[in-house]
């Protein structure tokens, strides 16, 4: 596994804008108090996951929703398809990392369905055949010229890179499927256990269309559950400020009991490793609210962007959750995609000690003998040199050479098949 080294100017530029806005807005709020409240609510989720999921299921069913539980990716895709029926249809989707995680769109397309991602960024990466590069900003790795080139291919004409003009073109194009769709699929930002309500926040208005299509299927992780409505204000505030630097998003939907004439609603609750994560030594990561702040502040993510991590959930939090939610996709040396600078822990609105947990993942690798050989060899040499004696006397000049010319460390790699670089 190799982290790509190409500088991603677009990612850093967008990240700087987000961090700047976030800092300005957070300074106007009782930020640390909000973080404490949000952390407490999410800790409750982590510690009482089964209880809260059961409570939510009862409340949502009482409110007239159908609730299905899916143990893994395949079960989740099956559950959605059972709800949509076998005949291929036009489906609209709003942005959802869980649907990316379970590969839902690709699964539906293989079955002949036409699926439109209606979130602008998500649509752009759909057209490009890419994964989202960030959990809230799927196209953060692209600049305006690259987006114009992508959309020019869709429209069959040359588009300018003016952001407003591009947005207008995309809006007009995406309005067509909104009217023709048989069903809408959305994710959820939170699930309220005491009321059975689904919380969806968005800026573009597309999620509204997805949730009010003829049929609405919610696909979300069981970890989105929170105990009560009164937990919501702090969580929404820290989520929006951390994700986009907004005090609140343009739209906040609380979907409760469907009114007469409302679409039938099915909720697919996906486990796919979440229960295991919540019971593991990395359970703090269950608190994650998918704001992506740890990504925009991470010096590695800012350089390589999300695709370098090879998982749907990239960045520092991805290093922690992907081994549970995407074990097959997670590179074995992912815990080393970090400088352990600690910025992720500092910025996390729900106080996940991300950096310490990444260090703990490195410890697991070491104990399993799975640490990259170059690192194991280096540490072994350092340990020997530290012991002193004749071995230390001999080794220190060698290690001095390695510190002066670090590229020497790669000499042993060059002759090995599958060498890193």
């Amino acid at each position: 596994m190799t982290l790509i080294a190409a500088p991603t100017t677009a990612t850093r530029k967008a990240a700087d804008v987000t961090l700047g806005k976030r800092g300005e807005v957070a300074a106007t709020l009782a930020w640390e108090t909000l973080r404490d409240q949000a952390t407490a609510a999410r800790r409750d989720t982590t510690e009482h996951l089964d209880e809260l999921v059961a409570m939510f299921t009862r409340a949502a069913e009482a409110a007239g929703c159908k609730v299905l539980r899916a143990a893994d990716n395949a079960a989740a895709c099956r559950a959605v398809m059972d709800e949509l029926g076998a005949s291929p249809q036009v489906i609209i989707k709003s942005k959802s990392m869980v649907t990316e995680e379970i590969g839902l769109r690709h699964h539906m397309e293989r079955l002949g369905f036409t699926v439109f991602e209606t979130d602008l960024g998500e649509w752009i990466v759909q057209v490009r055949g890419e994964l989202p590069s960030h959990v809230t900003a799927p196209a953060i790795h692209l600049n305006a010229e690259q987006i114009a080139e992508t959309l020019s291919g869709v429209m069959g004409r040359k588009l300018s890179s003016d952001a407003t003009a591009l947005t207008e073109v995309a809006t007009e194009y995406l309005r067509q499927p909104l009217r023709a769709s048989a069903a809408g699929i959305s994710g959820a930002n939170f699930l309220i256990a005491e009321t059975g309500e689904i919380v969806v926040i968005e800026n573009e208005g597309n999620a509204y269309f997805c949730t009010s299509a003829a049929k609405h299927v919610v696909v979300t992780g069981i970890d989105k559950v929170i105990r009560k409505r009164s937990d919501l204000p702090a969580l929404l505030r820290v989520l929006t400020v951390s994700a986009t630097g907004q005090r609140q998003t343009v739209y906040t939907h609380l979907l409760g009991r469907p009114l007469p004439g409302d679409p039938a609603r099915t909720i697919v609750l996906v486990d796919n490793g979440r229960t295991e994560l919540a019971r593991s030594e990395f359970s703090d990561a269950t608190r994650c609210i998918r704001c992506g702040a740890c990504m925009v502040v991470c010096p590695v993510f800012r350089q390589v962007t999300g695709h370098a991590y090879k998982t749907v959930y990239p960045g520092p939090i991805g290093i922690l959750v992907a081994p549970y939610l995407e074990p097959k996709a997670t590179p074995s040396d992912a815990p080393f995609f970090s400088t352990l600078c600690g910025a992720c822990s500092d910025i996390c609105p729900v106080r996940i000690p991300i950096s310490s947990l990444i260090a703990k993942r490195r410890e697991l690798l070491w104990k399993a003998g799975a640490t990259p050989q170059m690192v194991r060899t280096g540490v072994s040499l350092w340990k020997l040199a530290s012991r002193g004696g004749i071995t230390g006397f001999v080794l220190k000049p060698l290690l001095t050479l390695l510190l002066r010319w670090p590229k020497l460390a790669r000499l042993g790699q060059l002759t090995r098949p599958g060498a890193r670089r």
Binding site: A5, V300, T339, L340, R420
Partner: protein
């Protein structure tokens, strides 16, 4: 008082003259006789690699070497922070720049020059103390410290990170170097040998100098 200076592996290898400069500053701060601690490494490389047992063993070795000394000076924030985290050295452990900031009141008479003072992400200081330190460097060395011209919280070193992903680490550093040069500083100064070695390997046209060496070059000691 029996005092010793720990010269971290990176300082010894990449900035070998800095140990003497550190000793001169310690003498100016009231510690005229400081031995060199017979320890090669604090154990941080093992810790960041995930080898907890190895890090603890290296910490014990360091502790053995420190036996009999009343004061232990370390000029690397990350080494000092790691040793404190491991509980090694106890109250005897002092971050050398802490001592210099509090005790040295000399002033450079050299012409004022702009520098970039790099702060490691694993600093032992909080923001307020770092500000005191930065003002002290400005006054003592007669320099103008340019504000960090990039928002990234880390230079891209990260110990094993830069070893495993050298091209990525190099491109991160190229960005920082470009931003620093564009901001008008021709010199990068830091008390952190790890970060500084990463700067030095990719310096381009910038001069990269450890803090003690820089202060001595400004006529402080």
């Amino acid at each position: 008082m029996k005092a010793a200076l720990f010269v971290p592996c990176t300082t010894g290898a990449v900035f070998s003259g800095d140990a003497d400069a550190q000793r001169r500053l310690l003498a100016l701060a009231g510690y005229p006789s400081v031995a060199t601690l017979g320890a090669f490494c604090c154990g941080q490389p093992a810790s960041t690699a995930g080898d907890r047992d190895g890090a603890s063993a290296m910490g014990r070795t360091w502790d053995d070497a420190a036996r009999g000394f009343d004061a232990l000076f370390v000029a690397s924030a990350t080494c000092c922070g790691h040793l404190r985290h491991e509980g090694v050295g106890g109250d005897r452990l002092r971050y050398a720049p802490d001592v210099w900031v509090d005790a040295i009141r000399a002033r450079s008479t050299r012409e004022k020059t702009p520098i970039y003072l790099h702060r490691p992400c694993h600093d032992v200081w909080d923001d307020a103390r770092f500000d005191v330190y930065a003002r002290w460097v400005e006054d003592t060395a007669n320099v103008e410290i340019i504000a960090r011209p990039y928002k990234d919280p880390c230079c891209g070193f990260g110990g094993v990170f830069a070893t495993l992903f050298d091209r990525t680490a190099a491109s991160m550093m190229a960005h920082r170097i470009g931003a620093i040069a564009a901001a008008g500083a021709g010199t990068v100064v830091s008390a952190e040998p790890g970060c500084l070695s990463h700067f030095a390997h990719h310096a381009g046209g910038l001069t990269v100098v450890p803090l003690a060496t820089f202060l001595v070059s400004r006529g402080i000691a």
